[in-house]
Symmetry: C2
DNA sequence: TTGCTCAACTTGTAGGGACAAGCTGATGGA
DNA sequence: TCCATCAGCTTGTCCCTACAAGTTGAGCAA
């Protein structure tokens, strides 16, 4: 007998077969009862093994349908160029980027005024609980949930740029709107983290077990101080972030 | 009766109690049999609920000990400054960074010559399977596994910088060594991705279920072409990446 | 053809039991 | 005092059963 527990043997065998292409992305695995017969194990044991692969993000299951091998088509976001500092574009950067990639963007939108949560306050360098404006949106690519984005603006900024606190989109793009009101961003500070989604996030992004989220926190600075903090929550399986540092001058056009 | 299945109710109740501090990081949860009594559910049902929290990365379990609330003390790595392009430092950037953070670095090391895997070849812009040098290391912080790092150098570079292919550390740091041999890096292209660890990665980094890895692929360019590609695999729960874009001039010293 | 129902599949949920294996503290004996 | 042993706790593995719930396609009726 092997030393590995039986449910791990099941998972390892299936993982190997997925890796070497016996079950390509999109393919359906044999049913639990078939696997149960093949491995001479109870249905529960097979389920434990399959569950391992689900939490590894390799397969997903749905009631009535069976287990399916996950496929990934990743979207690469060039964070260095995402918002051009020198020439703020018209429209928002996300729609532009997605359209340029030949895919269809769609977003829903919400504006709130609320006290700044502790973490946000730290980024914006204001008191925790100070007044802040939250502009929140859900973003889809080809109708697949892609990311949620929450941008916080410090309360003092609203006096200079009142439309921030008004509901509804800012057609020319907030970066451009701010620039037109004398508030230009001269730099960003980005932080990237990953973790498993909360149930709320899993619901919004329609991800099951085994898919982590990628958290992108971008704090924009004007000449003097932070003027906004954007937290974007991506599906980790569909998104990658790119940064260029130093003088690359288009050496990566093909990527 | 609630519409939520019982094992989810168990998970939700415990998650709430963890979130509001009833079980602080490091605390032990009641045993399965206690929870089983409290929720009037079988041990199997309680285990399903606990397993959800494990895959969310909220708690971890060990045989004989029970379930423990995970704690996170994150290490932030400033990728924009990690390797200074203008003034290559002595020694490797990792040891310097960790020591500066008041923590103790430790690493093991390995050098290999091998055909470049497909993905690496694409980054290095060489033929897939072309000769490449792999310098691989495991890194620890305060004896906790922190990351694994694989750096690939294209074969043609070894003629100019033969020590790359020799086993053993390069004391002055490879960036400095390359610079001293007329190969200076003028820029980087970074890609950041996340996913669940393979069983191999989970073993090396000593992470259990519910902790994603953060993959950092950095391709370094000399004047002409890519000269190295470094893939770093971090524990996602302990690491964050920072980037500075534009003119921030030390506005984030405190972070 | 079209549309409905239903049987036969799938996984999901919930319970039961049994024993293995890891950890800890109490209880000894040396 | 020190150390080995062991009882009694913990979770890990594996089996069984039963029924609920989602999906699909065959087949019948209009």
């Amino acid at each position: 007998m092997n030393k590995q527990p039986k449910y791990r043997q099941v998972a390892d065998a299936l993982r190997r077969e997925i890796d070497n292409g016996a079950y390509p992305p999109g393919a359906r695995l044999p049913s639990e009862s078939e696997l149960s017969a093949r491995f001479a194990a109870s249905r529960n044991t097979v389920r434990s093994g399959l569950n391992l692969l689900v939490t590894e993000g390799l397969i997903s299951s749905s009631q009535g349908l069976g287990y399916e091998v996950r496929s990934h088509e990743v979207f690469k976001l060039n964070a260095s160029r995402f918002e051009n500092l020198s020439f703020p574009q018209n429209g928002d950067a996300y729609s532009t980027d997605v359209t340029n990639a030949g895919r269809r963007p769609h977003q829903t939108f919400r504006v709130e005024m609320l006290p700044a949560p502790e973490e946000i306050a730290a980024w914006l360098k204001v008191e925790a609980g100070a007044k802040a404006v939250l502009r929140f949106c859900h973003r889809y690519v080809d109708d697949v949930p892609w990311s949620t984005q929450a941008t916080y603006y410090p309360g003092w900024l609203v006096e200079q740029a009142p439309r921030l606190a008004e509901p509804g989109d800012i057609a020319e793009g907030t970066t451009r709107y701010l620039a037109d009101h004398g508030i230009s961003q001269i730099g960003y500070f980005d932080e990237i983290a990953t973790r498993m989604p909360t149930p709320e996030e899993a619901r919004l992004l329609e991800i099951g077990a085994g898919v982590p989220v990628l958290l992108w926190t971008r704090t924009g600075y004007s000449d003097e101080k932070p003027i906004r903090c954007t937290i974007t929550t991506f599906r980790g399986d569909l998104n990658r972030m790119n940064y260029e540092i130093g003088d690359l001058a288009g050496r990566n056009e093909d990527l």
